[in-house]
């Protein structure tokens, strides 16, 4: 069997796209795991008006920046375009996605296949968060916060403060 190796990308830049509404400890854990693997890791926050995010794009960017401020090669950017365009604009060769459970797989597999078609120069890489974060999702965090529950172990402190302000009203 002959194998054709793909050329090594000039720069090892990864994009971690998502809505991050809001950023959770699961997201942070994934970024911490991924950051040493790349020269630069760009957390791409999608505008995504269809999901009706609880926090505006600027606020989600600000919260993500605060939550990830201690990691030197990580940058947070918002985007309104197609992910394919954003990945090209950044010059990334990897799209990073998190897999929390088997139930995520079918959806992520479809996205990865579609992105391979749209952005053949970029590979999708899946990482799993620490087990203790595998059940956390942004929607769960919002729901617990809305009902007045304690979310301190689910989200970074900046996000917790913002959720308290939002749902105390």
């Amino acid at each position: 069997m002959s194998v054709t190796l793909r050329p090594v990308p000039a720069s090892r830049i990864a994009v971690y796209p998502g809505t991050f509404d809001p950023m959770t400890n699961g997201h942070v854990d994934l970024v911490v795991r991924a950051a040493p693997l790349f020269e630069r890791l760009v957390v791409g926050i999608a505008h995504n008006p269809v999901k009706g995010p609880s926090f505006g794009l600027d606020e989600r960017i600000e919260l993500a920046r605060e939550s990830l401020s201690g990691i030197p090669n990580v940058e947070v950017r918002g985007f309104h375009t197609l992910l394919a365009h954003f990945v090209r604009e950044i010059g990334a060769s990897v799209i990073l996605r998190g897999l929390r459970a088997v139930s995520d797989f079918e959806y992520e597999f479809q996205l990865a296949s579609m992105n391979r078609h749209l952005i053949p120069e970029a590979e999708t890489m899946f990482l799993t968060p620490a087990e203790k974060f595998s059940f956390i999702s942004s929607s769960l965090v919002r729901e617990v916060a809305r009902l007045g529950g304690d979310v301190s172990s689910f989200v970074p402190p900046a996000v917790q403060r913002r959720l308290l302000r939002e749902f105390r009203r």
């Binding site: 809505t19 999608a46 995504n48 999901k51 992910l83 959806y107 996205l111 078609h117 929607s139």
Partner: protein, 160 residues
């Protein structure tokens, strides 16, 4: 004499084989009928996949985002699936993409589509995008109404 006998035997065998070929029924078309058992998810997925193969040219098959809701799907599964669909739509879709919805519970799936496409942020956001719905004709109008503000093209397939 023996040679003539062998030739006749060979001819007879060939005719029998030909007859057998002609009599063999054609293989069943997996897209022809929806499985009767709504709970048979494997059969339903096979059926949906066969229908899609008929509807979609092979070169477009890598651009399908499919959502299948199994029979009597739990509320948790529906909620997670809805979030995924909304994420997918909201992040922007390249022209030529196909979005597929199918379920043995056609009515539930129509309701799901109504929820997923409830609030278009701007008109005609999905122009150039086709949405395939495999379900009962009773739901066709509901689905068409839900999609209309998005500008998507509905391809409806009756699951008989």
């Amino acid at each position: 004499m023996v040679r003539r006998l062998l030739a006749r035997l060979a001819l007879a065998c060939a005719l029998i084989a030909l007859g057998a070929c002609q009599e063999a029924p054609p293989p069943p078309d997996p897209a022809a009928n929806a499985p009767a058992n709504a709970a048979d998810t494997v059969a339903w997925k096979t059926y949906v996949s066969a229908v899609v193969k008929k509807l979609v040219p092979a070169d477009q098959s890598k651009r399908i985002f499919a959502t299948f809701l199994e029979h009597a799907a739990s509320d948790d599964l529906k909620a997670r699936t809805l979030e995924n669909v909304k994420s997918f739509i909201g992040r922007g879709i390249a022209e030529g993409t196909l979005i597929l919805f199918a379920s043995p519970d056609s009515e539930a799936m129509a309701g799901f589509v109504e929820q997923a496409f409830a609030d278009p942020p701007k008109p005609d956001m999905l122009k150039g995008i086709s949405v395939i719905f495999i379900g009962k004709s009773a739901e066709q109008e509901r689905v068409a109404t839900a999609l209309a503000p998005w500008g998507a093209t509905l391809i409806f397939h009756e699951a008989n």
